[in-house]
């Protein structure tokens, strides 16, 4: 393999990893406050691409207005899912909440199929992002550079929000101990809703860029990325935002390199993430940055 080709694969891996990281953050934040896999997260991500599609293609709103609108709408959708599917049974056994999450995920998928049809639609990517630039002998889409930049900026903003603002402090408090946080005067419902909104917002950022990178959207497109990003969050140490980012990059780069170096295994690409997950869970169940907690009786 030549160096050029390697760099091309690497840049691909980095941009894919950035997308995984953005979505994984949503999983990890929700897990932090609720100890729950938000199965519907992948579908919220899918809905974001549909919002963008309708904004640009159907309503002919220019992309620089549509995209912010999509972010807000998706955040609202995430909060709605939380209010309908999770809040009423927050005190129920964990299995019930998980089932409700799976139900919400299937509901969103099937609703999209009914409302928008199962046929894949082309994502209307602005040419500004999809232009190809020559770097030496390598042809790379501009998007490949923008994606990691957007990811890093979002991550910095998020870290500021969580570590420096009052809302962020409330989120950290809720994730540590809900009861005590409530006693300290934190509105648990608002904080959890905000966390869902924030996670969905980032999923929408990821969704828009995903749509531009793989310009075809369909109702089930969120399933596999959703699962993979959850895996990325677990690999990094669930509940830990830095961990989610590391996990996302490991998964994205690893996947691209697997296909690049071992082309015979291309068919097994989607299994790679699961194999990695099982290896991680067996060797270090709390993930790379996770802390070990003992169970209290």
């Amino acid at each position: 393999m030549t160096l050029d080709l390697f760099l091309q694969h690497l840049s691909n891996g980095i941009s894919l990893g950035s997308l995984y990281a953005l979505i994984a953050i949503g999983y990890t934040m929700v897990y932090g406050v609720l100890r729950l896999i938000n199965f519907a997260h992948g579908d919220i991500f899918m809905m974001a691409t549909y919002f963008a599609f309708f904004g640009i293609v159907t309503f002919r709103i220019p992309w620089f207005i549509t995209f912010p609108l999509v972010l807000v709408l998706t955040a609202a959708l995430g909060m709605t899912v939380e209010a309908v599917a999770y809040r009423p049974i927050r005190e129920a056994p964990k299995i019930s909440i998980l089932i409700s999450a799976i139900g919400a995920s299937f509901f969103l998928e099937n609703l999209t199929i009914v409302l928008f049809g199962g046929v894949p639609k082309p994502f209307p990517a602005p040419t500004l992002f999809t232009d190809v630039v020559q770097v030496g002998t390598v042809a790379i889409q501009k998007l490949t550079f923008y994606i990691p930049i957007v990811t890093v900026l979002s991550l910095l903003a998020l870290l500021y929000l969580i570590n420096k603002t009052k809302t962020g402090m409330a989120m950290r408090a809720v994730s540590m101990d809900q009861e005590t946080a409530r006693v300290m005067g934190i509105n648990i419902n608002h904080t959890i809703a905000f966390t869902f909104g924030l996670g969905s917002f980032l999923a929408a950022v990821g969704g828009i860029m995903w749509g531009m990178k793989f310009p075809q959207i369909q109702p089930l497109m969120g399933v596999i990325p959703g699962l993979k990003c959850f895996i990325a969050a677990v690999i990094g140490g669930i509940g830990n935002i830095g961990g989610a980012v590391i996990g996302g990059f490991i998964l994205g780069i690893g996947e691209i390199m697997l296909v690049a170096f071992l082309p015979n295994l291309t068919g097994y690409r989607d299994a790679f993430a699961f194999v990695l997950l099982i290896l991680i869970l067996l060797s270090k169940p709390t993930g790379i940055l996770g802390e070990k907690t003992a169970e209290k009786v």
């Binding site: 100890r35 729950l36 896999i37 599917a85 009423p88 049974i89 129920a92 964990k94 299995i95 019930s96 998980l98 089932i99 409700s100 799976i102 139900g103 919400a104 299937f106 509901f107 998928e109 099937n110 609703l111 199929i113 009914v114 199962g118 399933v223 699962l227 959850f230 895996i231 677990v234 068919g267 097994y268 989607d270 299994a271 993430a273 699961f274 194999v275 997950l277 099982i278 869970l281 067996l282 169940p285 169970e295 009786v297």
Partner: protein, 353 residues
């Protein structure tokens, strides 16, 4: 009260005989479409019961059921397809020896399918059962996906994405209902044994169970392997009913359907799983008009909404953790208010028989 118990026993025997007569009648005289639906009902009952053993009785939230079914379905199909047809199906790459010449009787093939699924279940159990809750869910889901991806890629064994066609239609009502009855008997006797009590103890509180001397890994693996065995049998019956299988069929959606059945019937009730397997399968056919008159996919929307509705407002499902019994049926408030008017109400004091 002894006489009443005797009455109930007679009632049970009569109902079983009626069921046998009905199966005999249905197999020969009913519309093929209805027979097929009944077959699917029984198979879903098997799948529901086996998943309920793992999820409802042992409290292990496993989402790998479709993978076990796939193993059972493929094994049974490969062992029952006649060699001549195998040569036709595998036109991209020939089937490996000695599978290409093998042809076993249906029950043996089913049993082998179940056994292989159980072996796979045991292999998966070893690493994953150290995990809990949602980690376990995602790891088992991952294993099911891995099985599916492997089946898509092993062209010389499973015919890859093309799937298997021309599977002989050996499943009939006798086999499907017989297998369902066998499953019920085995699982009920397991649950009512000391093993079953250990499994329920694990469900209620793992740490407490362990400190009472229950070997967690042993019992969890047992539940997983038995559940996988019956999932394999269910998968085998389904493959030989449908006549064609491919890896896509055994995606997460399939597990979701079984999950809907056990949640609706009640996690921890085999009779609940059977009842809801019939309800869900028949509703699935009955609601076909939604797809035809409104829009394709409407049925799935209804079903996912139903699952959420049940979990949100009616968490214990139809039966909760109770099994069906005549006492419960006749003591039920709804029964007393409707049909119970015409039957003698059991008098207080207990002298009446």
């Amino acid at each position: 009260m002894a006489a009443q118990k005797n009455n109930y026993r007679i009632l049970t025997i009569v109902s079983l005989l009626l069921l046998l007569v009905f199966i005999g009648f249905a197999e020969n005289h009913l519309d093929l479409y209805i027979v097929r639906i009944l077959n699917v009902c029984a198979i879903y009952a098997i799948l529901g019961m086996s998943m309920n053993l793992i999820n409802g009785f042992t409290g292990l939230f496993s989402l790998g059921h479709a993978g076990f079914m796939a193993v059972g379905a493929y094994t049974t199909a490969l062992l029952t397809i006649p060699p001549a047809i195998k040569a036709q199906i595998f036109y991209l790459a020939p089937l490996i020896k000695p599978l290409d010449q093998m042809n076993l009787p249906f029950p043996v093939a089913l049993f082998v399918g179940g056994l292989l699924a159980a072996v796979v279940g045991g292999l998966i159990a070893a690493p994953t059962l150290r995990l809990k809750g949602d980690y376990l869910a995602i790891a088992t889901l991952g294993f099911a996906e891995i099985i599916r991806v492997v089946f898509t890629n092993t062209q010389t064994i499973t015919n890859g994405a093309l799937g298997l066609k021309g599977i002989p239609a050996l499943t009939n009502l006798w086999w499907s209902f017989g297998a369902a009855a066998f499953t019920l008997v085995v699982l009920l006797s397991l649950i009512n044994s000391s093993y079953g009590r250990a499994l329920k103890a694990i469900r209620e509180d793992e740490i407490a169970a362990e400190s009472m001397g229950i070997h967690l890994a042993k019992h969890k693996t047992l539940s997983f392997v038995i559940g996988a065995f019956f999932a394999g049998i269910g998968g085998g019956l389904l493959g030989n009913l449908l006549g064609t299988i491919d890896p896509k069929m055994f995606s997460f959606t399939f597990t979701f359907n079984i999950l809907l059945i056990i949640v609706l019937g009640g996690m921890g009730s085999f009779s609940g799983s059977i009842i809801s397997a019939f309800i869900v399968t028949i509703a699935n056919e009955y609601l076909r008009f939604l797809d035809e008159s409104i829009k394709v996919g409407m049925r799935s929307v209804v079903f996912s909404a139903l699952l959420m509705f049940v979990v949100l407002f009616y968490r214990h499902g139809l039966m909760g953790a109770n099994e069906f019994s005549w006492e419960r049926l006749f003591g039920n408030k709804v029964y007393q208010k409707t049909l119970g008017r015409w039957t003698k109400r059991p008098r207080k004091g207990g002298y009446a028989g």
